[in-house]
């Protein structure tokens, strides 16, 4: 079991913005990255659904597409992120998200798959903590004890970002500028295939100028 769970600023920002875009609904998406004995690194968050996230067919299609997209970078789908509908939700694993995470674990290169559950009640401008709870496929009854950080993976080594507040500040700025409308998930892509569910513009906006510490 990894000791550290590291999210790139773009991945962390996207999954939060996806939840912000659909405040009255449950949202979910895939997490892509690499894992070794010490660190699980989430390089990218791919938003999937904001309605009917309990249904399997489009999840199966999205899983195949996303794995195909990242294969050349040596990365794969290593988990699911999910935000439940009620704001007071206790951020525990639901039977449905368990089913999906175990499916991801079965199909992936490593059997270490995770569920990242957003803690809805922590989403306030005053709260600068990383509002996530992580569950491992091997035991979804309790959150993992490893530390959650924001950073990058370069040449096999992970580095935390220099300024821990910078990502929350960037998110607040983007929310004020209504950039949350830019978020495209797999569902909106299926309504209009011109919509790019990899959200490249958002990735840039979320990571520009946010540098790793030396």
């Amino acid at each position: 079991m990894p000791e550290t769970y590291m999210f790139s600023p773009a991945a962390y920002g996207k999954l939060l913005l996806h939840a912000f875009k659909h405040p009255s609904q449950a949202v979910s998406g895939l997490l892509v990255g690499k894992v070794d004995a010490k660190v699980l690194y989430v390089h990218e968050a791919v938003p999937l659904f904001h309605t009917y996230s309990q249904l399997m067919p489009m999840l199966e299609v999205a899983l195949k597409q996303v794995n195909a997209i990242f294969e050349k970078d040596g990365m794969f789908v290593l988990g699911l992120y999910s935000s439940s509908q009620p704001i007071t939700d206790k951020a525990t694993a639901t039977p449905h998200s368990e089913k999906i995470v175990k499916r991801i674990a079965d199909g992936s290169a490593s059997t270490c798959a995770v569920l990242v559950q957003l803690v809805n009640s922590s989403f306030k401008p005053s709260c600068r903590d990383i509002a996530l709870k992580i569950y491992s496929a091997s035991d979804m009854t309790k959150a993992v004890s490893g530390s959650i950080k924001l950073g990058y993976l370069y040449d096999g080594l992970t580095t935390e970002i220099a300024d821990k507040e910078s990502v929350s500040e960037r998110l607040c700025e983007l929310l004020k500028q209504q950039k949350v409308d830019l978020v495209v998930d797999f569902e909106s892509h299926l309504d209009n295939v011109k919509n790019d569910y990899m959200n490249p513009e958002l990735s840039l906006l979320l990571s520009e100028g946010i540098v790793p510490s030396n």
Binding site: S24, A26, Y52, Q54, L55, M56, P57, M58, E60, V61, K64, Q65, A68, I69, Q85, P86, T88, D89, T94, P95, H96, Q178, D181, E187, H189, L190, D191, N192, V193, K194, D196, Y197, M198
Partner: protein, 291 residues
């Protein structure tokens, strides 16, 4: 429907804003931030016109949705001044304001007093279901809503909500979710959405070849109703269910033909619309052929 963005509201005329609010009342889409921004401008300028009372109700509900409780209270006070504090719709709004603030115990008496005089008030009965849902009491919410649906059988929103409740419950009941989706098809036989959703529920429940075959029929019917590029979900669904049928040994020529047809349609739409992921779709199809 085309809605202005939040930044555009300040520059639009009152007439245009009134039209937007009217459209949103007639074809409800949840755009609470926009309604609040427009409402604040119209209320400040006393520019609500003949629809003033409907607009105040609409803005009150939108304000509750975005936690602007002061604005909601002001709108409710104006409505109470006009229609009386015990008017049915005013009482309902007072109950909803309590709900929005998380005080369900305070909301319940408002709803009970409405139902004493109007026992068949469906919107208020639904508020009681909403309270159960907000507290995570899904099983009770389902029981309550099913009892109500036995009396009012034509309410589309009721079937949609029941379907969602069954899918979201700790022990999802896919058979019941499917029954509710089928009711929606009965009420809207040409709607490609409910046909597609029935197929998805079948594929999610028990993964048997019987279910996949039925799902395939629903997908085909959905595509017959709408074979345009905005129904890609059905094309992908058809491809996926044909793949699943092949994997569980129920492969036939018809299945192979349908799968190939779906692939061709997906690739041609992706090409026509210059989809950023078109090369990956082609890769997926090549991979499946190798298997």
């Amino acid at each position: 429907m085309e809605c202005p963005s939040l930044n555009e509201v300040a520059s639009l005329s009152s007439d245009r804003l009134l039209k937007v609010l009217k459209e949103l009342r007639m074809h409800p889409v949840r755009k609470s931030e926009l309604v609040v921004k427009i409402g604040e401008r119209l209320i400040a300028g006393s520019a609500m016109g003949a629809d003033k009372w409907n607009i105040l109700e609409q803005v009150a509900i939108a304000a509750m949705d975005v936690l602007y409780f002061d604005l909601a209270s002001r709108c409710i006070a104006m409505l109470a001044a006009k229609f009386g504090g015990s008017a049915r719709r005013v009482l309902r709004l007072k109950g909803m304001l309590c709900e929005a603030q998380g005080d369900y115990a305070a909301a319940e008496p408002f709803y009970k007093s409405i139902l004493e005089k109007n026992p068949t008030d469906r919107q208020v009965k639904w508020r009681q279901v909403a309270i159960l849902k907000a507290q995570g009491r899904f099983d009770e919410a389902i029981k309550e809503l099913e009892a109500q649906m036995k009396i009012t059988q034509m309410a589309e929103e009721g079937y949609i909500e029941l379907m969602n409740l069954h899918l979201n419950s700790k022990h999802p009941d896919y058979d019941k979710a499917l029954t509710n989706c089928e009711e929606l098809i009965l009420q809207n036989p040409t709607s490609y959405c409910w046909l597609m959703l029935c197929a998805e529920i079948l594929c999610t429940g028990k993964p048997t070849s019987t279910n996949f075959l039925l799902a395939r029929k629903y997908y085909c019917e959905s595509i017959l109703q709408n074979d345009g590029p905005n129904n890609m979900r059905s094309f992908w669904g058809l491809w996926n269910v044909c793949k699943n049928l092949r994997a569980c040994g129920a492969s036939t020529t018809e299945n192979a033909d349908l799968m190939k047809w779906a692939e061709e349609r997906i690739l041609s739409t992706y090409e026509k619309m210059d989809c950023p992921q078109k090369e990956y779709a082609a890769l997926l199809f090549k991979d499946e052929v190798k298997k």
